[in-house]
């Protein structure tokens, strides 16, 4: 089978993407064989209380509001990563796609909230709002540091969706949350691979490290 290099929504040079794809797959396989490289402790941002994002939310509307905020924070975080000059073109491409996914999640959740008669929360305005979930995006100096912040943010989001399952009332929201949580898990596979971490470290992906 000829490896397919998806370039549909990217503007990166095809040769660079091809090289990145080769490296990424080699890294992925090496990660499975060797157990993955440890992430330097200094590059791991401080995970704040995102696990409790829904702890005080009662009722589906309140949980949706928190989820929308979390997704919008993710959009801002990816925008910040995309606006810097630290990501390689292939990593930029992944970040651009994942930013689009987070926006789709936010839009879908807003529709669900509106259907319940709620009003979507105001979007976050910048890094200060990202810092409320994960700290460090304003201080990153390398691609690995950027990606590690994004990993922490994705983990926080997964953890929040995981915890929400026990609180939601509406069946369709349980299912929507699961489809989003699973997508965040797939983002984690790609992001972990970029920094040389184990792509799938746990049989139960609950957002814990």
């Amino acid at each position: 089978m000829t490896p397919r290099i998806p370039v549909a929504d990217g503007d990166a040079d095809t040769a660079e993407i091809a090289a990145y794809e080769r490296d990424r797959r080699a890294l992925l396989r090496r990660g499975f064989a060797l157990g993955g490289a440890a992430i330097a402790a200094s590059s791991v941002p401080l995970l704040l209380t995102a696990r409790d994002a829904f702890a005080k939310a009662t009722g589906d509307a309140a949980i949706l509001e928190r989820a929308i905020t979390l997704e919008q924070v993710a959009v801002v975080a990816y925008d910040t990563a995309l606006g810097g000059d630290l990501l390689s073109p292939p990593a930029l491409r992944s970040a651009r796609r994942f930013r689009g996914h987070e926006q789709q999640h936010a839009d879908t959740l807003k529709t669900a909230l509106t259907d319940l008669g709620g009003v979507p929360p105001a979007p976050p305005t910048g890094l200060a709002d990202v810092d409320k979930v994960v700290k460090g995006l304003g201080d990153v100096k390398t691609q690995a540091e950027v990606v590690n912040v994004l990993i922490e943010l994705e983990l926080a989001t997964v953890a929040a969706y995981h915890d929400a399952q026990a609180k939601l009332i509406e069946a369709r929201l349980m299912q929507s949350f699961a489809t989003i949580m699973a997508n965040e898990g797939q983002h984690l596979v790609v992001l972990r691979t970029i920094v040389g971490a184990k792509p799938v470290p746990n049989a139960f992906e609950t957002g814990t490290t």
């Binding site: 089978m1 000829t2 490896p3 397919r4 998806p6 990424r24 797959r25 992925l28 396989r29 090496r30 499975f32 064989a33 796609r97 994942f98 689009g100 996914h101 789709q104 999640h105 879908t108 997964v158 969706y161 995981h162 915890d163 399952q165 026990a166 609180k167 069946a171 369709r172 349980m174 299912q175 929507s176 949350f177 699961a178 489809t179 989003i180 949580m181 699973a182 997508n183 965040e184 898990g185 797939q186 983002h187 984690l188 596979v189 790609v190 792509p199 799938v200 746990n202 049989a203 139960f204 992906e205 609950t206």
Partner: protein, 198 residues
Amino acid sequence: MDIDGFLRDPQSRRNFFQRAGVMVGATGGSAMFLAACGNDGTTTPSVVTGPDESDQADVEILNGALDLELMAVAFYKAGAARLRGSVLDIGKLFLEQEQEHADGLAAAIEDVGGTANRPKSSYDFPVLRTQADVLRFAVDLENTAIAAYIDALPKLTQGDLRATASGIITNEAEHVAVLLDTLGSDPVPAAFVTGKAS
């Protein structure tokens, strides 16, 4: 039947997963666990004694999920013979993780007084001649599991079981990403992972 025929033929897929305890809808989309499908395809009660009504409903759903996980374990064991090098390492890891899912589901079933289903004596997998055949079938199997779990999720009465199921769904989605990547495909093709063709 070889893997190409199997993947192209919706009826073959439905028949296969139905025998394994999963019913895939006529469109190949929605899926549900068949609660009462016991070992070796025989219809036997999943619960012997103990659980109250809501627990019994959960036990039936969990046993449907367990059937699928046990099939995945059997598949990754059988498929390992076609895998090499780093791809074999992937297969071994996923085998271990599917076994962890099965063990966790069996424990949850027994915690509420149910009886966990046992593995079937054999599974009628399609012919898998190459490493790519194994990977492609694995994608199909993982996606089928995701769709079945998502369908079953709201039917679970206990919140902590729903949370655990969501952790399994996400792990299966991560498997899909790795498998797609290994096949040279986009590892994250859509913003919402439903287990259905996108």
